[in-house]
Subunit: 626 residues, 2 copies
């Protein structure tokens, strides 16, 4: 434990030392707002209060601040400077081996040695035991600086956590220390060519042997970081069916399948896992996505994690973490794109105010035009709203971990119902808001001289990976809203109502509290109406517009988060606050007003559609598409 | 005239002959629907009726059909097969010269010799004198097959038309025949580094000489096809200010500035127009966009078109044509993306119906899932709706040309008010619907193995070039809606009301007619409310949300087009129609229902916002963005 605190301190000192090495000139354009992040952590979600719990008592605000500072330094010095370069020099498949940007090795080493892969791992497993709230804030910084770069350690963290949670001690000892150190890459190997969103159809097979391992045979596609030369080994957390297993999801087991397995003498030899293809992608090009062929030579060994046929349940722990991670990555990109657009809008002069037609007057910075302000407000409202929701989820992760009984159950249910929203709202909005960023820059936004076009390409992966938006909609409406007789939905709406009550205390928030209250009522009416459809017409009619329901739910959730932020802003504005703070909180209030003025009204059209249970899409004959 | 008919016939025969040359295997995936195009041309917009007018009397339905067939053949054989290749092998700048795909030379030659560049040019200027309705339908086919490829001849057509309209005979003789033949490329050179959307700030200068030409000096940026080796010469239609001209837009003149000028002996020599840069772009990579430096050696000559200081007015003829052309290009891409997604959705099997949980049953084609159908319906509704609006505009172009007096004025005003809508609705929807196409393909949509990622990249240019969506919003609300005391707006709403009346005759359309009527009332209420804001608070408050007004207006316009299509479908369904037609018209009706069920409700939220004149964006301090 003390060792870890020392390591953390060492890490911070090291990173500060690097300043001399990298030089100030590498501290490039802003990609996040430290002020906003600290506002959320300390003023909205009271991160400090977590340190009053036994589990987090070794930490305090000062150490949180040091960690955040170190994360920013690492992001600025190591990740952000190669953001564009990793896109342009994308991975290559060379005689069966994947070559990635040379910095990947350094990144994995720094993240391993600096304790970033183990930030949430308990002291007993040699981790930093940080609250998720702080660790996820750091991940946000990394992903905003360079999404592709952040994926390598992020995947490793999740894969190691899965072994830690469900594997036995031998498995832990054989793999986890190497992964925590950043020497071995972790992956999640689920998808197969004939089974994308439908995992029940996977065909990769595992045959038990007398030696304790399983013989693996099959193909996997779309495996992020599934092979590369930035680490010594790759550890696949892989889903397969044990021969004779029941059909469907009930027959799926989880295995550890390394690219290289350890010989008795401790050396690494090939485990018959071959990279059969490398995808050329629209974006997210700094990280390879590969196709794997396992057991072509009948010599691929896998080790079972936990019990047979429970693989999907185990995998969903990692999956849920990754879904929130996708939301965080999307929010990071959207945030960085916002700052890139803002920087351009402040410096690019063009045109005059609409009330000023004199052509001899100099042009004004485009940020003076209302339409540019509207677009910037959209970018800001959805990215800061998304970040707030994600920090809310991180806080629930912490509370779920440290509380017991009914309280634990409450936060568990809140997380359950919010996970599809925290994955999909930021993802869908990142596509739209990076597109808005391109638009702010106009022709320059379309060219490679500015980073907007890359953000736009990179962001498009998020509504797809770790469960498409369509899948999230089915999960939310078909599973989470209905489970335990609507208990999670009830608890969630109570939370929102509490925020509405709190907001009513502030004169400047009353009108928004009332608006959110109306919108929440509308969401409940829509939900009731859909549940009636489920009873009367069955699941197909019930779920036909689940994606739009998810969209509606997402707007309400972000409205809730803006009201929470509004409360914190009002509290601060009531006190005498310094000018810089007054500007910050005034900007917060203006963005809240934007969200309620421009985004909340979108629920009117969504409600109109969702209350209309005509089965329009369902009844559309597929032959009619022509 | 007879010569031209012969040429047209020759062209058709030639193209049919090429079938043997290219072979059937090059007839690749479908990128448009011939059935739908003919439905619009003949059943909705009655193209044949145009041939009753003197100007078009040489044409008939049979010749229209032959032209359409030839366009499809050319698109399938020459343009579509290199759609991906032109993206991958994008233009290169090599020692000041731009090298493009070798097929560009062939394309320009075919389009010149085949009469495609001159399809709308009158017989007297050696053209085909086709109705815009037919010529634009052909352009749609070309742009759907390969947008970048279609831009080269398209720009040449527009530039030649500008010289034909406003230049003198000498200018016409010196340039137009070469352009019509596809030997010389035409361009539109407006934008400068310090003057993008704000043309009044251009600084390129023209100094008159005693020899009749002007000496040009300046820089131009973002010039499509501004230099390339697929033609012998480039002819820039360029905006510049004559020395001593008044400031602002009133001092802008139009010049012809060739890359190479003709010597007395008829040879071509350099005209001191240099390519100083080539942009690397997100998409639209088959066509170079360059930066030009004119008169570095003080020897760049330009020839004035028409009168001095009238340049912007002349340019707007071409600009308006190009704005509708951008809408057509966006619709082409969106259509091709729809068919690529549809093809995938029909063949890709995954998952089971939601009411069917038995994992031992085989997976179904994903087109069976409601959410996929919803996404396909979105793609289809916006692309077929956009195409209908564009064909409506083409018909207005024809009527404006052949009618006189009040009738002419009516169609002129309708075109004026619809141009910003016909430019921006298809452009914005192409971004969203190609994104939806990517989503339907999931991970495959994100990879270069399928064309969706390219459509997504290519489409992003459209809300930017030829006037951003923001500029279109200002044009619509600030100029077109208010001009002549709202005359254009009044005529337009009368047209929509007439369609509503016509639709009420059909029992299956009554409910949609009523819905469009309500939505039109909502649009009028919003318009009235905004005009009151203009009177009370001035232009800045009036126009703050002009972009959202444009969005609202666009949805109404497309609803109108769907109702028009619904009438044609109902007429056909009343008669005994063959099974293939019944399926086609049933699909039309289902897509109409989608538009009214899912898209029209979006106006509820837009109206809510537009009726709220709180000046929220306008009053946002630019310092508050942080």
């Amino acid at each position: 434990m003390i060792l870890n605190c020392v390591r953390l301190f060492f890490l911070i000192v090291c990173t500060i030392d690097q300043q001399a090495l990298f030089g100030e000139e590498t501290v490039a354009a802003r990609f996040i707002s430290e002020r906003n992040l600290k506002f959320l952590l300390y003023e909205v979600f009271d991160a400090e209060s977590l340190t009053r719990f036994e589990y987090f008592r070794e930490h305090n605000k000062k150490s949180f601040d040091m960690v955040l500072k170190a994360a920013q330094k690492l992001a600025k010095d190591l990740l952000y400077p190669i953001f564009t370069e990793m896109d342009r020099k994308s991975p290559e498949l060379d005689k069966g081996d994947v070559r990635v940007h040379p910095s990947v090795r350094k990144i994995m080493k720094e993240f391993g040695e600096g304790g970033w892969i183990t930030s949430k791992v308990p002291f007993e497993h040699d981790g930093e035991q940080l609250p998720s709230l702080i660790a996820d804030a750091c991940d946000f910084i990394f992903l905003a600086a360079n999404y592709s770069a952040g994926v390598y350690p992020g995947l490793t963290t999740g894969a190691a956590h899965l072994i830690e949670s469900f594997g036995d001690q031998d498995l832990f000892d054989a793999y986890v220390p190497h992964m925590h150190a950043g020497r071995w890459q972790g992956t999640m190997a689920l998808t197969e060519a004939e089974a994308g969103s439908s995992l029940s159809d996977i065909t990769t097979e595992a045959e038990s042997t007398e030696q304790g391992y399983y013989r693996i045979k099959g193909q996997k596609i779309f495996i992020s970081a599934g092979d590369h030369d930035g680490v010594e080994n790759i550890v696949h957390l892989l889903l397969a069916k044990i021969k004779g297993a029941p059909p469907g999801v009930k027959g799926i087991s989880l295995f550890v399948v390394p690219k290289r397995r350890m010989n008795a003498d401790g050396s690494l030899i090939s485990n018959d896992v071959n990279t059969s293809g490398l995808y050329h992608k629209l974006g997210y090009r700094g990280c390879p996505i590969v196709q794997l062929s396992l057991g072509d030579g009948n010599d691929c060994r896998g080790w079972l994690v936990g019990e047979p046929h429970n693989g999907l349940r185990y995998m969903f722990q990692m999956m849920n973490e990754f879904r929130i991670g996708v939301g965080l990555g999307a929010t990071g990109m959207a945030t960085a794109a916002y700052y890139a657009s803002l920087d351009y809008a402040r410096t690019r002069c063009q045109g005059r105010r609409l009330s000023q037609k004199d052509p001899t007057l100099p042009p004004v910075p485009i940020i003076e035009h209302s339409d540019i302000k509207r677009m910037l407000l959209f970018q800001r409202a959805v990215s800061e709203g998304s970040l707030s929701l994600l920090m809310q989820c991180s806080r629930y992760v912490d509370l779920q971990k440290i509380l017991e009984g009914e309280e634990k159950e409450k936060y568990h249910l809140l997380l359950d119902i919010l996970t599809p929203v925290a994955k999909s709202y930021p993802s869908e909005m990142a596509v739209l808001s990076t597109s808005t960023g391109v638009q702010i820059l106009g022709g320059s936004g379309y060219c490679e001289d500015y980073p907007l076009e890359q953000y736009f390409r990179d962001a498009r992966i998020h509504p797809i990976h770790e469960g498409t938006t369509g899948i999230q909609g089915l999960d939310l409406l078909g599973r989470k809203v209905t489970m335990q007789d609507g208990k999670a939905f009830f608890i969630y709406t109570e939370e929102v109502k509490q925020t509405i009550c709190d907001a009513e205390e502030y004169p400047d928030l009353k009108v928004y509290a009332a608006k959110l209250c109306d919108t929440l009522d509308r969401l409940r009416a829509v939900t009731e109406s859909l549940l009636a459809v489920a009873r009367e017409k069955g699941p197909e009619y019930f779920l036909a517009d689940a994606t739009l329901y998810l969209e509606f739910f997402g707007i309400v959730a972000i409205g809730w988060q803006w009201l929470l932020q509004g409360i914190a802003a009002q509290k601060a504005l009531q006190d005498k606050c310094p000018e810089a703070d007054r500007i910050f909180f005034s900007g917060k209030m203006a963005t809240l007003k934007y969200f309620f003025g421009y985004e909340i009204p979108k629920t009117l059209g969504l409600a109109d559609r969702l209350l209309n249970n005509d089965g329009l899409t369902l009844e559309m004959e597929s032959d009619y598409f022509n």
